[in-house]
Each structure stands twice: as C-alpha cells, then as structure tokens.
Symmetry: C2
Subunit: 262 residues, 2 copies
DNA sequence: TGAACTTTGTGCGTACGTTCACAAAGGCGT
DNA sequence: ACGCCTTTGTGAACGTACGCACAAAGTTCA
C-alpha cells in the first residue's frame, strides 16, 4: 500500500489572489467565467483544514494508516460530504473504496497551509496572555517558532519566559528584522494594540494575530485575525439567554430574571 | 420608543456556527415568507453585535450622543449597509436623517445579547491561560462574573489568582452548583478537556467556551464555542504563504486531470 | 475474471450572508 | 410651512456555503 507518489511536482495555478481580509474584502481571484480558481480554496475550507490536520496527526500517532471520510468527519465533527468536498479542493488524494492515506493527507494539508516551512512569530506583550501564549506548546510543534517576546514594561523586560528573554518594545523594529519575524501576535492592552500593530506593519510584518479587544486598522495586503474572548462569551450569553426561555414580556425594561438550568 | 415587532419563533439551531453537531437538523424557524423576523437574529449578526457594542461603549464614554451607520461602520470595520441590516434585526432604533442614539443602542444591544443580567463563569484550568483569563478585566465589565477557578494540580489548588482561591477539580460539581455557574471555560490541556466538559454538562452547564485544542462532543442543547490559537496561526500561515508568491513550493493542481502514477 | 461492495468526488437544490441602490422618513434651514 | 438634505430601513441581486444523493472508481472475494 503505497499511494504516495515519491515527489510529483506540477504546475502551479496561483494567479492573483486578493487579500481576503478577515473583515471583508471583495477582491477575489474569480476566473473570467466565474469558476472557483484552481488555487482558490474557500475560506470556510481553509478554516477547517487545521482541524482535520490535528485529527490526522493524532491518527498517525496511533498508527492508523488509512481513514474514511466518514470516520474523519465524525472525529472532527463535520459532515462527511463537507469533509470530502473540502479535501477535494486540494486535489484527489483519496482512494475509492478505501479512504485516505493518513500520512499522505497530513503532508498535503500541511503543504497547503504552508506548514512545511517555518514561520517566525513574535509576541508583543508579556503579560498573562503573552506568557500563556509563549508557553503554549501547540505552536512549535506545527512549524511556528516563537522568536521573541516583547513588552513595554521595563519591570518585565529581561525576565525569562518560556526560554525567551523578554525584550523591550523599543527594540521592536530591530527584533523583527533580526529574527525575520513574519507573524506578529498582539497580546497587549487595548490601548497599545494599534500602535504596536502599526510598528509591526512598518517593520514588514504582514500577518497579525490580535488578542486585544480593538478593531485594528491595517493597510491592504496585511492580514489580521482577531481572537476576542469577550466576544465569544457574549455570543454564548446570547444563546444561553435564548435557551433560558427566550420569550419574555419585554418592553423596554430589563428582565432581571435569573434562570438556572437544572 | 419604536414599536417592537413581537413575533415569537422557536429558537433556531442552538449550536454555534461551525459546530454542526450530529443531530442538528431541525429546519430553521423562518416566517412563511422566509424572513427570520422577530427574534430570529442571524448568527453572523450576533457575532458582530459585541463589536458594535464595544465601539458604542467607547463612544458613550467620550460623550457622543448620536452616530450614523456610516461612522459606526467605519470604526468597527464593516460595511454600512451590513451594519444597518444588523441593527434592523433588533428593531427600528435609528432616526432617519440623524442616526442612532448611542446610549439607547447600547442598551438595546446589551439586552439582546443577554448582558442585562449577570452570567456566572467558572474557569477550569489555572495554568497560564486560565490565569490570564481570570485576570482579564474585559469580563467583569460586561456582565460576566468569574466565580470560580479550578485546577487538577494540588500544587496550584489553594493559591490565589485574580482574587479567587483556586479550587480542586474534584469539587467541580459542588462549585458549579454553589455558585450557580452557567458558563464554563475550559483552559485545560487537551487531554483533560473532554472529561471536564462532560462533568460541566452533567452539572448543568449548557454553555462552554473551549480553549483546548480538541473537538468537544456534547449533547444536544449544549452550546460550545471554540477558541483555538493554533488554528488561527495556521490560517494566517495559509494566507501568508499565498502572499509570498506561491511559486516556491509547487503544488498539485486540482484540475480535472489526474496524474499521480506511482 | 467478474460481480458485489465500499468509498470517493461532485452536481445540484437550498439556505444563508453580503452589498447595492433606492424609497421612505425624519430633521433643518429659510 | 415647505422643500431640501441627510440617513435609515429594506428589496433585490449576487455570491458563498452546506448537505443530499448518486455515478464513478477502486477493492475484495468467489
């Protein structure tokens, strides 16, 4: 059983993909006729690929050689058809009647996501969150190398966190360049986020992961993704409220009612 | 005060987007004509309401009384028409020719999101991330009260974090009930997440915010939202790779032709 | 070898989300 | 008081996403 082509390289259909900002950006590499471009993998699919990848890594560790879309779908919590369609965007890597070769799929998804190369990450803000991020093992194991941890507080600068010495944000530009950082993670208080982001961008960073509760403004070509704890909680609250007896006689008065689910 | 269309509809899909639990099949409760009137607010809108809310809070603090959709849209980074449509789902709270009353809108969105009541939160896992979350001030200020912080490590139990004494996960059920916790935040290592989640659910928690890199399985009626740092980074990597001229590592093109002779 | 079985890959109908463009609605100046 | 100007609220067009259902393609076993 070796459906693994040693090394087949083919043409690259990369055209001119727009910059699908997390927020909204119309620009997309639409073909003249409207067919989704060769390399045009839908955002929704891209967002799921890491989930599949993680499950596949776990399977590989357990020695599983092949897996069907049905099984992989159930472990990742998606619809089997959706999973197959997602994978079909990468190419035809399954074997009918058998399923997908786990190792091969791991490789293909990794390559597609750009994880076959190393990404150098800098974390701005060495507070609780920055420290947590620096200590999070999930990064290094997936091709993300945290090269620097910066903070504006002189008290913190110089201390060692997760094997790194915290550097002062004054040196941001130097640090970014010296380590060839390509991804910046903002874990600062809200007030400092935009400023740090601007400096990151000016220093050449084009990918930013923002944990600060602000909407970052960036020029075209810079990719920002936001992780907002408070927003997630509020969405949960919305659904919880609805579950807890959504129909209330509300006019303009807050219903100060607390319903504890049994 | 505008008349508010009170049309009760059954709750729509309880699961969060991207978490299509097996068994999520009930058709959406839409009006005969198709418009989800009344309380059927689209998920995409719900996800943006907290963003608007935050911006509105900031405006209120600065003493701004009214704001147009155009301005609010630009500060929150969305399309003005989208913003208006989002707000229109709550009712007609704007004044034509003028804009929206900031305070009033704050109240309306808060009520819609269920933030006019207090939500009791328990954080499971007092490691770096759990500590960061406990210290994050953004919760308390928005109606979320962290009532408990639990950890399985006896070394950590008893220490004080963010004004709370860390309790042992052995007492999870008791803690949940005593504090009437309705939202559980999982900040444990991946291996412990499902177990803790199961116990939370068994104890009556129906809203879970999961930071562990696993897909949690929960029964119907339980809402899970996932925050995954590693996935966000991988999505960034995907786009970064594309920006960096996807010419280096050639790829298999998913065209009709299939050529992978081993 | 060939038939039965398994599983992929995808066409298609449906639902959802986004954006444009405009009529309706209200304030404001004269 | 009246018309002008601003801004909302929404109908309609477009695009994306989802999931069913099925043909195609491969495996296995007699």
């Amino acid at each position: 059983m070796s459906p693994r082509p040693s090394k087949s390289s083919k043409s690259n259909g990369a055209s001119s993909p727009g910059h699908p900002d997390p927020g909204d950006e119309p620009a997309n590499s639409a073909a003249p006729n409207g067919v989704p471009r060769g390399r045009g993998i839908p955002e929704a699919t891209v967002a799921r690929l890491p989930v599949y990848l993680r499950a596949l890594h776990a399977l590989a560790d357990r020695g599983v050689v092949t897996i069907s879309s049905e099984e992989l779908a159930s472990t990742t919590g998606v619809n089997p058809a959706k999973l197959r369609k997602d994978l079909s965007h990468l190419g035809s890597y399954g074997t009918r009647g058998v399923g997908y070769d786990v190792e091969y799929l791991v490789y293909q998804i990794s390559r597609e996501l750009g994880l076959t190369q190393d990404w150098v990450v800098a974390i701005i803000g060495a507070g609780n969150l920055g420290t947590a991020l620096a200590n999070y093992g999930g990064f290094a194991s997936r091709g993300f190398r945290i090269a620097a941890l910066l903070d504006a507080d002189s008290q913190v600068v110089g201390s060692r966190v997760a094997g790194l010495t915290v550097e002062h944000t004054d040196k941001l530009e130097t640090v970014i360049r010296d380590h060839a950082v390509s991804i910046g993670v903002i874990a600062t208080p809200a007030g400092a986020a935009q400023g740090m982001c601007d400096r990151l961008v000016a220093a050449g960073v084009t990918s930013v992961l923002n944990f600060a509760p602000v909407v970052l403004g960036v020029p075209d070509g810079v990719d920002v993704r936001k992780v907002d704890l408070s927003i997630e909680l509020q969405i949960l609250a919305f659904h919880a409220q609805r579950k807890a007896g959504g129909a209330e006689a509300e006019s303009t008065r807050p219903t100060r009612e607390k319903t504890v689910p049994a």
